[in-house]
């Protein structure tokens, strides 16, 4: 079928094309403006971001449910198939823990009496808020996660985020019903840490890979492979003693750390309100 263009079509078509081009130009201008606002840390840009994440968080929570169920089913089958070995391992671990419990009780009594003797000011206890992880983006460019709790749940900026294995990251933006967590592996993440055995302080710096590195170690550092890394508490953001990871390689001054917490496997996280 041949469509014959009318005179009106010839007049209206360039007008419509012009409008389309103007619309695209407007969108490009708006995107560039947003980019500049984002770069300069403009509060309006952050407001737009948190408003969008507040809307998207319930959607993402629903979207991740099938994967949650699949993950749970996989874990269940794995647990069933390994029940016998798991039972033997737990019995052995239980015997070991009972020995540790006796030692810990003795140390607790000793610690309390020493604290009383030295009149140590007691450190404030941390409070925890549990939230569900609805999105984790650990791609080549950005390493962050979204949780379904925000200012309405009492979550505040810069609070530490942990799971049962250790530190995951810290809260960087807070919306009403959502919060963004900067993961330890992100290039912008810098966490004060200390080696558990040699007691050397350094900064755990993310590099967008799964193995962050230790920076600012002393030149005479004795850090070796297998050394456990925990938070030092310096800076007052993270409570001291949260497990972070273990040193996996020490090569040409670069100390790589394998993190204890695997954010991809985490379903729920704890946000730690640490009063310094």
């Amino acid at each position: 079928m041949v469509i014959k263009k009318t005179r009106a079509a010839y007049v209206l078509l360039p007008g419509k094309q012009w409008l389309n081009r103007a619309g695209v130009a407007l969108l490009v201008t708006f995107s560039v403006s947003l980019l500049m606002m984002s770069k300069s840390g403009n509060p309006a840009a952050e407001r737009i971001r948190t408003d969008i994440t507040d809307i998207m968080t319930p959607v993402l929570a629903v979207a991740s449910s099938p994967m949650d169920s699949l993950h749970d089913a996989g874990t269940w089958f794995k647990e069933i198939s390994q029940l016998r070995e798991e039972n033997a391992r737990l019995q052995y671990q239980n015997a070991q823990l009972l020995q540790w419990q006796t030692a810990a009780k003795e140390m607790e009594v000793e610690n309390r009496s020493l604290r009383n003797l030295l009149k140590v000011v007691p450190s404030q206890k941390s409070t925890y808020i549990t939230a569900r992880l609805v999105s984790d983006v650990s791609g080549p460019y950005v390493h962050s996660a979204l949780i379904n709790g925000g200012s309405e749940s009492g979550i505040k900026k810069d609070e530490a985020v942990t799971n049962e294995n250790g530190l995951i990251g810290r809260v960087i933006t807070v919306g009403a019903g959502s919060a963004r967590v900067l993961l330890l592996s992100d290039i912008n993440s810098h966490v004060p840490v200390i080696t558990e055995h040699t007691q050397e302080k350094s900064i755990l710096a993310g590099n967008n890979t799964e193995w962050p590195t230790l920076s600012y170690l002393p030149a005479t550092s004795n850090v070796a492979v297998g050394e456990r890394i925990v938070t030092s508490g310096d800076g007052g953001i993270f409570p001291p003693g949260i497990p972070v990871g273990v040193v996996t390689s020490v090569e040409a001054g670069a100390v790589k750390v394998q993190l204890f917490s695997d954010v991809a496997k985490a379903k729920y996280v704890s946000v730690v309100d640490y009063a310094f």
């Binding site: 947003l34 984002s38 991740s64 791609g139």
Partner: protein, 177 residues
């Protein structure tokens, strides 16, 4: 005169490509509980954009690219507006060559998708280095590019079937069958 029910169906058929893009974007962003998978998770939202931008460009408008990019940036924590700009550029580059590759075979389209994706990924990486003042994981970026290219034929086939259905249904509604 088309009845209201049919009009609604036409509307649904028109927004279906956009809807599929949003669903794939949400799946891309949601938590998948697979260790290390995030490093090379295929860039799912760009596949329907490429397919429908090439096949029926009217169903993939620039304003939709802008909103999609904004959603991606907000959830991923990237600088706001970056993905919007890149997605609009992706669509513009696609439209520039559309008349040459539209009638070509699958291999040509696939190659063009790979080339466009490489350009967008390179610009994304460069922009993030500039904005976040740090290096990107090039190995992971390359892996993600490879996996996206590898996944494209499967989705292309699915979109082909869906597109055929949409066209036949539109024809039926408009011509009263």
């Amino acid at each position: 005169m088309i009845p209201t029910g049919r009009r609604l169906e036409l509307f649904f058929l028109a927004i279906l490509p956009g809807l599929i893009t949003v669903v794939l974007a949400i799946f891309f962003l949601s938590s998948k509980h697979m260790s290390g998978f995030g490093q090379f998770m295929p860039a799912l939202p760009l596949m329907p954009v490429f397919y429908w931008g090439l096949t029926y460009s009217r169903d993939m408008p620039y304003w939709f690219m802008f909103l999609l990019g904004l959603m991606m940036d907000a959830v991923m924590g990237a600088p706001l507006g970056l993905s919007s700009l890149l997605y609009m550029l992706f669509l513009k580059l696609l439209h520039m060559q559309r008349r040459f590759i539209h009638k070509e075979g699958f291999i040509i389209k696939w190659s063009y998708f790979a080339a466009l994706l490489a350009i967008i990924d390179a610009l994304d990486g460069w922009a993030l280095v500039f904005f976040k003042a740090g290096a990107i994981n090039i190995q992971a970026a390359f892996l993600q590019w490879v996996f996206t290219i590898c996944c494209y034929p499967i989705l292309h086939k699915v979109f082909d079937m869906l597109s055929e259905y949409i066209q036949s249904r539109r024809w039926q509604i408009l011509h009263g069958n």
